[in-house]
Every structure is written in C-alpha cells, then in structure tokens.
C-alpha cells in the first residue's frame, strides 16, 4: 500500500516537472539551436514575454528550418536554472540565453565546461570568453516618460509601483525622476516598492494607494505591474507609462506610452557573433542603437499635447547624440 502512494507522488511530481519545464521543440535540421531560460512565463506581459517575442521574431525571420528554439519557464531560482542550462548544453544547443541578472554566477560556473556554446544573460555588463551580457539602458526611456508625466500631470503627484529596490528598478526609477524634475520641479515622484517581482495583488494595492494619495500618473517595472495596470484601468482618470514591452493591450485607455525593448536585435547580434566565432560581448540596448524605442499608444496619442511630444523628441535626440546623459545612481 505504502509503496503505491510513493509512486503516485513521484508521478505527480514528474507531471509538474514536465509541465513546468516542457520546452517547445521545433524543426530538427542542423543550424542554430537556441534555448531560452526565463524567470517567469512567456505570458507575463513584461520582462520574459518581451524576450520570448524577440526570439520568436528572429526565428520567423530566419525560418524554422534554420533555427530551433526551446523555452524553459519559471526558473527564477538560479540553482534550478543551472540544471536546465547544463541539460541544454549537453543536448547540443549552440546558444543559451538565461534571461536575468541572477544567472550571471551560474553561467560563470557552467560556461567554461562548454567552450563551443555561447551563453548570454542580462541585465549585466561583464562579458568574456563565451558569455554575452546584455544591458538595457532603461533609464533613457524612463527619462522620456518622466517628461511626459511631468508636463502632463495635474495633481503634481506621480506614483511609481516598484518591485524590489535593486538593479534595474533603481535604474528606471532614477531616470524617470530626472525626466520629471527637468520639466516640472514642483511635481513629486513618490517611489514605492512592493517587495516582490510577481505579486500582482500587491502591485494593485500599491497602485490604489498611490491613486488615493492623488497620483494621476503611474509607472513601474517587473511582471507584477499587470495588477497595477488593471487597478489603474478600473480607477480611471489616470495614465500608466509602461516598460519592457507595449502593455497597452491590457488597458487601451490607460497606458499612454511604453518603453519597448527590441530584444530581437540583441538575439540577432548574439547569433551573428556566435556564427562568426566571436567571443562574448557587452551588448547595450539604447536609443542610439535603436534597441530601445518609445511608443505612444495610438488610441491616446491625441491627448498628448504637441509641446510634450516636441520636448520628448528633443530629449531623445540629445540622448542619441550624447549631449544629454541620463545619470545613474552612484554605487
């Protein structure tokens, strides 16, 4: 009797592992085989989904016979991710992208064992041998969105729904603050953190707290913002500035603009470098190289005054030609 229960438990666990890690395998001809390790899921409407769509765009461009893609989701914990990464490397994948800064150490550990495989992670800047590091300059688009919020706010209170006070979120919030200050020194940017990346309900609560405190512009990063955007949509009368990808499909009347990451350019660069046999590079995503883009929601674009668009355009050009540098916090 007892033995049966253990077998059942093992079956349950195995099913879980299979649903969690079950990759999508496509065409079996040679050429590029790319594995993608994601901290959340391909439908998170943010960080992971934007990268997944970037990879899929490259695959579409190259053709499924030239490029095979496997995806593993929900591997936010670097130790679990390490096991998956090794497995992909053993199975002969040529390029393995671990989409998060937390994977840096685990890649340093694994990469020397597989010199023919190219590994990539980001946000990060330490690249060497067969490790690529990609580095979105999130503060640049944040600055531009800060201009929009700063010029358009009526209450002079702008709320930030942050995840955890670290890395990318600090970069984004710091740039955003500078953008607001540049055009409207009277406006107050209130930066708050939920203490989690994926807690949708908390992000919603925090957004409500901001709106009750009078904020009429909101922004934020990480996959949890889905909750905050929904809360803003329900509340009405406020605008959301989105990051990672265009999130306007969630709330077409709330999301006014978006900083979009063009991951397909990063993925293409890694593939090209790999095929030429080059060593790891530090790949920057910026407005200057076109990997970052500021998009207005076409449905709301008419509500943005021309002077705001002009100011954004001017700052964007200055960022591109280098006359304006959005500062980063000193470490």
């Amino acid at each position: 009797m007892k033995r049966w229960s253990w077998i059942l438990i093992v079956v349950l666990l195995l099913t879980t592992v299979l649903t969690a890690c079950g990759g999508k395998q496509e065409a079996q001809t040679e050429k590029i085989r790319l594995a993608l390790i994601l901290p959340s899921t391909i439908d998170d409407m943010a960080w992971s989904q934007s990268m997944y769509e970037g990879v899929m765009a490259v695959q579409k461009e190259m053709g499924e016979d030239k490029m095979e893609v496997a995806v593993s989701e929900r591997l936010g914990n670097p130790v679990d991710a390490g096991a998956a990464i090794r497995q992909y490397a053993d199975q002969g994948y040529n390029i393995i992208i671990a989409h998060g800064s937390q994977y840096q150490n685990v890649l340093e550990e694994i990469a020397p064992d597989y010199p023919d495989v190219s590994f990539a992670y980001g946000t990060g800047y330490e690249a060497h041998d067969n490790i690529f590091a990609y580095d979105p300059q999130a503060q640049e688009g944040a600055y531009l969105q800060g201009i929009i919020a700063g010029m358009m706010t009526k209450s002079n209170i702008i709320g930030v729904v942050g995840p955890v006070e670290a890395g990318d979120a600090i970069k984004y919030n710091y740039g955003f603050q500078q953008g607001v200050e540049a055009v409207n020194p009277d406006a107050e940017v209130r930066i708050a953190y939920t203490g989690s990346f994926g807690d949708i309900a908390k992000a919603a609560e925090l957004a409500k707290a901001h709106m009750d405190a009078g904020a009429d512009f909101l922004t934020g990063t990480a996959q949890q913002v889905v909750g905050a955007i929904n809360a803003a949509k329900e509340h009405g009368g406020v605008y959301w500035l989105s990051n990672d990808m265009d999130q306007s499909s969630l709330a077409p009347e709330t999301v006014i603009s978006a900083q979009v990451y063009h991951w397909e350019k990063v993925v293409q660069q890694i593939i090209d470098a790999h095929q030429k046999g080059e060593t790891g590079k530090h790949i920057v995503l910026s407005f200057a190289n076109g990997a970052l883009e500021l998009k207005y929601n076409p449905q709301l674009e008419s509500q943005i005054p021309q002077e705001v668009k002009d100011a954004v355009e001017q700052a964007k050009q200055q960022i591109i030609d280098g006359t304006l540098t959005v500062k980063l916090p000193e470490n």
């Binding site: 229960s5 899921t41 998170d44 939920t194 908390k202 609560e205 925090l206 996959q223």
Partner: protein
Amino acid sequence: MIDLITSLLAITMRAGASLVYATVGEIYTERSGILNLGLEGMMLMGAVSSFAVAYYTGSLVLAVLMAMLVGGLLALTHAFLTVTMRANQVVSGLSITLFGSGLASFLGQRLGPAENSHYLVGLVGPKFTPIAVPGLSQLPLVGPIFNQDPLTYILYLLVPAAWFYLYKTRAGLELRAVGENPRTADAMGVDVVKVRYLYTTIGGMLTGLGGAHLSLAYTPGWSENITGGRGWIVIALVIFAMWNPARAVLGALLFGGINAVQFRLQAAGTNIPAAYLNMLPYLTTIVVLVAMTWWEALSKRIGAPAALGKPYMREEK
C-alpha cells in the same frame, strides 16, 4: 483621520477575503488531523479555472462552482494519498502545490482564445463588483463593511457558521475528536477515514474559492502566480488563529491591514526605506505568533490538534 481609517478598512477587507476562505478551509482540514500544504497550488488552480469558466460562460456562479470542484479534487487526491495510502502528509502536500502551480500556469497559456495566442493573461471576464448596502455603507469607519463583493458577504455568514459547527454541534465535536485522538473517536463509533476525507475535501473547496476571489473579485483576470505566496501565509494564519475559524478573521485582517498601512505610508512619500516597510506584515505576524503561542502555553491551551500529521491505522498500537 476617520477617512483614512475608513479607506484602510476597505482595502484590508478586500485583501483579506481570499485569506479568510483558505484559512477557514485549512482549519477544518487540520482539525481532522490532516496537514495540507497544497494550499498555494489549490488556490492557483481555483483562480485559473474559475477565471476560464467565467470568461467562456459569463456565469460567475459556474465559475465559483468550478473553483470549488477543482480545489476539492486536488484535496481529494491529498486525502487519498495520506488517509488511504498513509503517505507522508508534508511530501504529499508539497507535491500538490508544485503540481497545482505548474498546471495552473500551463493552463493559463493554453485555455485562452486563439486571437490571444491561447493565453488567458490580459483577458477581461465577468467579475464580482462591490454591492453597497443602502445607508449602512455611508457610515463612517464601519461603512466599508457594507460595501463589499458578494463573495465577501458570504464570509459574514460562513465564518460564524464554521465556528458554530465546530464548537456547538455533534458533527463538529466528532471532527475535533478525530483530530485530537482518532483511536478514541473510532471507539466512539466515528468513521475516522470518512471524516478525514470529508473535511480535507471541504477544506480544498474553500481554498479553491479563496483562489477564485483573487481572479474574480480582488484583481480580476488571470495572471501568472496571482496568489503571490498567499497559500503559505495561510499556513501561518492557521496557527495564528489557534485552529479557531473566528480568529482566522483577525489574523487575515491584521496581516492585510498592516500591508495596506505600509503601502499608504510609501505612497504618502515617507522617508522610511521600503525594505523595512515591506517587512512589517511578516514581522508582525511572527511577533504576534510568538506572543500568542507563549500566552497559550502559559495558560495550557495549545490549539494544535494532537493527531495533526499522523496517519491513523486501526490495527496498530
């Protein structure tokens, strides 16, 4: 000030409802001597299945029934493994959580309509909206109590009923007896296996409902990991409540209330670092947990069912 407290209460109640459902469910499960750590998985499955049903059928009643069915089925699996097969309850519960959360995110990417790449995320379905009781909802301080969604109103009946059933009825006494001393209960003529199956399943149904409250009322819509670890908080709240359904409300309100307060403080532009404020609800839970356990120990009234976590075998000594 009064406005602030009123709005805090409103947020606290909304945040607490799903916790209360799952806590009452788990209290009933644990009272029968079964520890079910599968809460997180059952809540996620309740959330995803109820949202999918609501989206396709437009019926919130069907959606709620579906959440209860799914939660109940997962709990039934747990009961089968732990009562009939006498498997380790911790291992079985954890595997339910792993299985449930993995399956929920899998379904979230498959059940959606084709035009949304088969994803459920980002879809708008029917939802429970707050219904204000005329007059009462305008009262200062307590007004928010009378401006809630229907699932929360049901709790106003469920919690007292759960308390009354557990402490004032014969069936409740039998349930407690099974959790305290199954051998004696068996000798009294109580069917231990039946009781454990029944209340584990009921607990799962309530937990699934807690998940449905998240995706149908609190943050309407499906998104990956919508529970955000609430299933684990519930396990602490059960101890906090000393396995008493009435106290479950206090725990959920305290936890949700402090969370609401710290978000208000941040949104008001305080200088206190966010990390300390984020810590507050958890810190308070630990402090109150220790204080209460200590007090209970002093007054020799520990609430944990004595047979919690132990399989029952009639023939064994």
